[in-house]
Symmetry: C2
Subunit: 556 residues, 2 copies
């Protein structure tokens, strides 16, 4: 007997399984916030649901309830005033452990079905969640809807598909019959039980509280584990809504809702204590290197899936579409004020300039033209506020100031401007800073400067640029690199360099695809092979070690 | 165009792929050392090939050649006097890195084909390798042939099959076409390259120099990595022959033979330096906890697959075949003098005795009967020497002495005896020590006492035995546990306990299968979920993180 939720969502799961095998375009959750798709009242309903949660305590019936926590501060300068129940870590762990046997018992199919039901309900609540994402992270509305809603859900489903595929390879039982020559064969019956590793901890980041949380959450859930979600103190609401929806689905399916719980704190020491708890078997983390390195050093006995800092970069050798390239790069640097883990920070340009069909464009001209392209793209305040969103953290605001003052070295090509947001007067909206410097000024550009801060870096020539890109990726990490060239030999050399440094390469993007975008089911987000991330969304390795197979055997 | 070696071995690979999915009995390499299968002169040829290597330098043309190393001392008391070329670690690493691009270029199919060719040639050399295994490890001939030859080869093929399956899930390329409403779709071509993580280090153990080395060796190779094999100083020859055969296959296939090299040393500091080398990406290790814990602590940035110490145990509640149980246990405890990582150390027996169709058998009687069964089984010196083999290390000899003197506590039920080996007068052959003690004497029995040392442990009752088994597995680790009972409720309780402690369970073995045996393709060796091993032979998790996928994309 299949689980009814597996039957209900089987077609979607099959499509996702096909998508991760073929890696063409596919999506389960429409990315357009269209009333035709989501319902005529979806946007208003979502906004109302979001509004109804402001200024009060978030209802979440979890064990170990102590006080309440209120830490969120909107980059749009509005008051959220949501307080969240603070629960004892030990109580959440104990509840998660108690919930796991029932979760194990329904098997991989049942777990996949329940996870898809959660994702389906998350999708129906996309407007509410997107508003929460927008208001807590500073993302513009369209990005908050797409990346915070359907794209995050697609990444969650992708993880479920990988998890299901790996578990489905393990037969429930087997008859093992070994011939013994003229004697009767040895015959054994064997059972193979898929067992979750233990309680999983998923630590979210402040910029993408769903997109970077759902992969680990659903990978851990689908493989049989209970999950404690620990959101960033400034982006709790999207995670809290997601957790509550998951708990509702569990309860409706006759399962223990404590399979997913929310742990809120703004004290790193409390998160560290939870991470080190002996019952925590895996940790998914997106965030800075300091905490990430602490996890690597202090949680050695746990499976850690971490996405940390990096220095994404682009090599420009030449282009047959100079304007298209500049527009493409301008959008990449402007989108969400460069607060994406995939945004380019260093753009390597040969000292002698780049090749175009119209001839060489000198280094300084490339830098100036890119600055002008950014400026032009953001000239319309309506476009600017929609694309830039607001600056998520005071640290990033400070970095922008520092960069503008020349604090990181380099020469300012384009200064950052503060833009007034017509709807949110207190919003911290900033345009990107573009700097230029020489490659040898490594202290300027070869460290992650998170936010809208990019460097046009002068290199000796294209070969030096490719070598430098490889070294930066190997030493500092990167989730994305790009290349512009008209030479196949340059593509080949850069391709080989990315094989060594293990980073995804986008070549000659001059249209509607951007180096900082990755598409679920098709693009691997991170390779897991350089310091920017020790795992990839989403591949076999992201799921295969989250469960173990425990066998028993006896003669029949 | 498929690689010719992939075509040559495709049927075998397909059968292995089917076997790991269905997990019934299958083997690619016949386990009987029969002249009909291996050839009328195979045994003599193998012995001659082995003999020809004694008393001289082992021919191995590797880079970075310095001096020579001669460390092996046979447990059978004969002189091997083989010296091995000592090569600089840095030279082997550099050679491995240089060899990897060509290995990457032939793809997953090519690598699988070449690996199967290596395994095929290893199989044809089984007699030679088995003799080397026997003489270096002290195994009896039949075990040396089976575990050191075909069974090890099966474990290697199993790893290749898993590696191939995971890589085959990654398409080489895809067309990604995203609709854009009324506008033309966004179309990209994407390439997905499987890239090995880097140089792999495989550190062997002194007791199973091929069986515990081939899984890591072939998993790392098949996923695109170069491998440095570092054998135990006392069991180099079987690994050296295997490495040389692999190098011959690479050369014959037009590949760089430095894809596999041998690093010999008896200085742990040299192995540690190699393990910490930045270019070493993964480490497979079988051995003691001290070195294993050192690896965990000092090689955090590397993938580590480690099999360490454990306290394998059996719960006896009752049996419907008392004599069958005793015979089965006697064989388990005697085989290779208990020098298997899967041998039982603690046997939990209720204070009130065990149930049999003839009534209760008291605790002391069970212990005495088991001692008598071991004694009877080993009464014939020909059987004894064939089954026991010789004691591999002086440490184990010392432990047997200590156990016999009561140094570990407990009461001696059966003392160890020294047996003369008719063929090898200097061989260190010992029968097992059987002790009995109370469960509370944890310092006696709850630590690995590697070798032929077992404890019959008195527990309050069956429930206490199951709980104790679970705790021991969780705290000290185990690769195997067993259960004897006539009650389904006891089976159910023990099954649930093993799900929590994550250990393989064998139930009511009274015939020709033993708790310390695991069959390739069917039995997972280790679960990777308790301290005895952080990985399993062989599952998806054993291979999926040994390679990474590096993509590139561009518009078409």
């Amino acid at each position: 007997m299949s689980h009814p939720l597996f039957e209900k969502h089987r077609t979607t799961l099959d499509s996702a399984l096909n998508a991760i095998r073929t890696r063409g375009y596919w999506s389960a959750y429409p990315e357009m916030p269209s009333p035709k798709i989501y319902g005529e009242t979806a946007q208003a309903d979502g906004k109302a649901a979001y509004d109804a949660q402001l200024g009060r305590e978030f209802a979440l019936d979890q064990p170990g309830r102590g006080g309440a926590v209120k830490t969120e501060c909107s980059p749009y300068g509005i008051a959220l005033d949501v307080s969240y129940p603070k629960c004892e870590a030990q109580a959440l762990i104990a509840a998660g452990i108690a919930a796991m046997p029932g979760w194990q018992a329904i098997g991989a199919e049942g777990r996949a079905g329940v996870c898809l039901e959660i994702l389906d309900r998350l999708n129906k609540r996309s407007f509410e969640i997107a508003t929460a994402v927008m208001m807590t992270t500073g993302q513009g509305w369209m990005m908050a809807f797409q990346a915070g809603g359907p794209h995050a859900q697609d990444r969650g489903l992708e993880a479920v598909a990988h998890a299901f595929k790996e578990q489905a390879e393990v037969p429930a039982e087997a008859i093992w019959e070994k011939p013994q020559g003229k004697n009767p064969p040895l015959v054994m019956k064997k059972h193979f039980e898929v067992v979750g590793r233990g309680v999983a901890l998923v630590i979210g980041c402040g910029t993408f509280p769903t997109w970077n949380t759902y992969p680990g959450l659903f990978a851990a859930l689908a493989t049989g584990n209970a999950v404690i979600v620990k959101p960033h103190p400034n982006a709790i609401l999207p995670a809290a809504i997601s957790v509550r929806i998951a708990r509702e689905v569990f309860a409706a399916a006759g399962l223990d809702p404590n399979l997913v719980t929310l742990f809120v704190t703004d004290a790193p020491a409390e998160t560290q204590a939870l991470a080190q708890h002996p019952a925590v078997a895996s940790i998914d983390f997106t965030g800075g290197n300091v905490f990430g390195e602490w996890l690597y050093a202090h949680c050695r006995d746990k499976q850690i899936y971490a996405e940390l800092a990096g220095v994404n970069n682009i090599v420009i050798d030449g282009t047959d579409s100079y304007k298209g390239m500049l527009k493409n790069l301008a959008f990449t640097l402007a989108l969400y004020s460069g607060q994406m883990c995939t945004t380019t920070q260093a753009i390597f340009v040969p000292a002698a300039g780049i090749d175009t069909p119209e001839g060489k464009v000198p280094f300084d001209q490339v830098a100036a033209d890119l600055g002008a392209a950014i400026d032009k793209f953001l000239a319309d305040p309506a476009v600017a506020t929609a694309v830039l969103g607001a600056i998520q953290s005071p640290d990033t605001l400070a970095r922008i100031e520092q960069a503008s003052r020349g604090g990181f070295g380099g020469e300012v090509v384009l200064a950052s401007k503060k833009i007034e947001h017509p709807e949110f007067p207190q919003a911290e909206v900033r345009t990107p800073v573009l700097l230029k410097c020489d490659a040898v000024s490594e202290s300027s550009w070869m460290e992650e400067r998170f936010g809208p801060i990019a460097f046009v870096v002068k290199v000796a020539d294209t070969n030096a640029a490719i070598a430098l890109s490889e070294r930066v990726v190997c030493e500092r990490g990167a989730l994305t690199v790009g290349l512009y060239t008209m030479q196949q030999s340059v593509i080949d050399a850069m391709t080989a360099a990315t094989w060594r440094s293990k980073v995804a390469l986008s070549i000659n993007l001059t249209g509607g695809v951007f180096v900082n975008q990755s598409a679920a089911y098709s693009d691997y987000h991170g390779t897991g092979g350089n310091p920017a991330a020790n795992a990839s969304y989403a591949d076999s390795a992201f799921v295969a070690n989250r469960f173990r197979v425990v066998q028993r055997r006896y003669h029949v």
